[in-house]
Symmetry: C2
Subunit: 411 residues, 2 copies
């Protein structure tokens, strides 16, 4: 069944907000087996909302709308839907009471204009909002079922999952199955080229890509006559993808590169410390977005050369002889970090992130990484391309890959 | 004049990509003085592209489209526009030659299907693409002028700025002026409440907000009869905004909190070092997204207590007596960092970022920050709300604000 998304709000048409709600909803609807063919976005304007609805109801069974349910005068979504459906607004006394109760609980006075959040088009059914003041509603528009939700993501997402999904699931029986790979070390375009032909060889299978640079998410989505059939198709195609991408697959299933890496260090009971120069703490920051104290000891961000000497005991002479961006200094940084933090593993990163600071001999993008372990220290010389953002991220992720490859292989 | 954006691509309707092009274009068009009232998004489907165009041409003078200009069979945008305009496709021999030349330069063989990127609707005018293979084009659709561009942001953005802007500027003479504030330390909703009434008191002025948590961008956009009038209106309203938000304004004009802070340290010729615990290197990472070696020495990310002792020489007894999250430990960390890095200023952050690790006495969100300078060390105790992401960011930005406030006041 076809589904459409309607995002309402002048903050969207003015570009003040990026429409992340639409991509989130599109992903969820696709996963549920719907074919999303349109995402409309218009400003808070009753005629334009109506114009969109007139188009969308023509060939979509489900319409999901977000935004414009607030208490202010520029929130016109409810009125626009009622007008399109040709029904009046009616005040829902139960919702009004709940609204008043919410304000009491938040310790705020309820303004007169908030009352309009208890008005709904006649014949619609309310979708409660446990996380905010604006309830949503479901309304029939011709043959289409429309679900009208607030635009605040933390209110909208649970409303969709908890209340809309159960109402629409039956419309598109789950005949899709998805398998997810997390790939590191190849750009999205090359991954796409490598998998060229997989879709054609596997009917019902589509392959989706999403890049969170430098991480690539590869999703094998299969549709089938029933859930088992879909699962079988997804697994068959996934086996081919797994074979082609083997050296670059960092993990399978839910999670990020960081999540997979953390899991390996935990399983192997290995502690990690970092010495970061050109990445400026990026890898440390990525590792600590989630609690990490059971494997992560700390990092020395030795941005200035003096800090390499005082914190990591890198001999001054070594920097003078080889330069701060060199294999000997990377090794000394890694060994220094392992010593000073007392960790099982220590990775050091030193390089030229740019945009300035490069030379013919040591160009922007040159990065030395070293891994120090009980078994010794191994240096890696890499040359990355792109801007500062890309060089820093490639360096951080490559260093993590080097450490996890070692950890994976250790007993 | 009204403008609309049409984003084309199944990767968008499936939710595999967030439509950042649309928000970028909406911002630019709004800045140019256009009123963007619709952003449509549909999959790679000729009838649905046509359906959108039929709606959009009705009341938009400018239509900007992105996506679907690639060489593959699912790239159908050019065909859809030709069909809607009722004209055939014609091959542009000059563009074909340039395309072949591009492939030679990239050292790649040109596939047969790439030739279609030299096909354009009859009567359209080509928009060259210096950054990729797919040129764009301008075509008249009734009274509307449509600009069709590739979807790759790094190709689309320069095409818009260099080629579309000069063609549309005259349609909406610049009668708008914008002033920008960067605000720190108040949530967006409170900033909005504080500025409630400014729009009403200043005709032609609208205030836009964008949050890059915890940074809030406040844009005062004024329209006027001419540029001077618009500028005057913007400045008058901005003076009011400046007065209301004074304690929280971090900077004015282009730039981020980090940019403004870096500028202050540079102007005052002060060097900075960090000791980060619960923020895990976040502040260090934020400071080094841009080159920072002229003021930033480094950071000790002392995530484990042992690291606080070995790297920053925080006495073990101090941690045992007061706990790692305490004013005395924050002070010792800051002083240790200032000593070991040899910097003018050192800021230390230690806290409980959660989700676990809190207690009745020291709840999640408790953060101690200390600033060490030649004049001594000052501790700050803060209690932040929200999840780990928010607590870490609030802590990092607050620490930076404490350091820059000191730097600003110093001679």
């Amino acid at each position: 069944m076809r589904a459409a998304i309607l995002s309402i709000g002048t903050e969207l048409t003015r570009g003040e907000l990026t429409n992340t709600n639409a991509s989130w909803l599109a992903t969820r609807l696709t996963e549920l087996g719907f074919e999303v063919t349109r995402i409309d976005c218009c400003d808070d304007d009753i005629p334009r909302i109506g114009e969109s609805l007139s188009t969308l109801v023509r060939d979509h069974g489900v319409i999901v709308s977000t935004g414009g349910l607030g208490p202010t005068t520029d929130d016109l979504t409810t009125e626009a839907f009622a007008k399109h459906a040709g029904v009046p607004l009616v005040r829902d006394e139960k919702q009004l009471e709940e609204l008043e109760e919410k304000f009491r609980r938040f310790g705020r006075a309820m303004a007169e204009n908030n009352k309009k959040q208890a008005d709904f088009p006649k014949g619609s059914s309310v979708l409660p909002n446990p996380y905010g003041t604006a309830p949503g509603f479901e309304i029939a528009l011709g043959k289409a079922r429309a679900f009208v939700m607030p635009g605040v993501p933390r209110e909208m997402k649970p409303m969709f999952d908890d209340q809309v999904v159960p109402r629409i699931q039956a419309l598109s029986p789950r005949q899709s199955h998805q398998h997810r790979f997390v790939v590191l070390g190849k750009p999205e375009s090359e991954v796409g080229l490598m998998l060229d032909g997989v879709e054609a060889a596997h009917p019902g299978v589509t392959i989706g890509y999403r890049a969170h640079f430098p991480e690539i998410e590869v999703k094998v989505l299969a549709k089938g006559s029933d859930e088992d059939d879909a699962k079988q198709r997804a697994e068959k195609a996934s086996a081919v993808v797994r074979k082609i991408l083997a050296p670059w697959i960092f993990g399978e299933g839910p999670g990020s590169v960081i999540d997979f890496a953390a899991q390996i260090f935990r399983e192997k009971k290995l502690t990690l410390a970092l010495a970061e120069s050109c990445t400026g703490g990026l890898l440390s920051q990525l590792l600590t977005e989630q609690p990490a104290s059971d494997y992560f000891i700390g990092a020395a961000v030795t941005y200035a050369n003096s800090a390499k000497t005082t914190l990591l005991r890198v001999p001054n002479g070594l920097i003078e002889e080889h330069g701060a961006v060199s294999a000997p200094v990377a090794k000394a940084m890694a060994e220094g970090a392992r010593h000073v933090f007392g960790s099982d593993l220590a990775v050091a990163i030193t390089g030229i992130a740019g945009p300035t600071g490069g030379s013919a001999e040591k160009p922007v993008g040159l990065v030395h990484i070293a891994l120090a372990t009980a078994a010794g220290t191994t240096p890696h010389e890499l040359q990355f391309r792109g801007d500062r953002f890309r060089i820093q991220r490639m360096a951080a992720y490559t260093a993590l890959k080097i450490a996890t490859t070692y950890a994976r292989a250790s007993r």
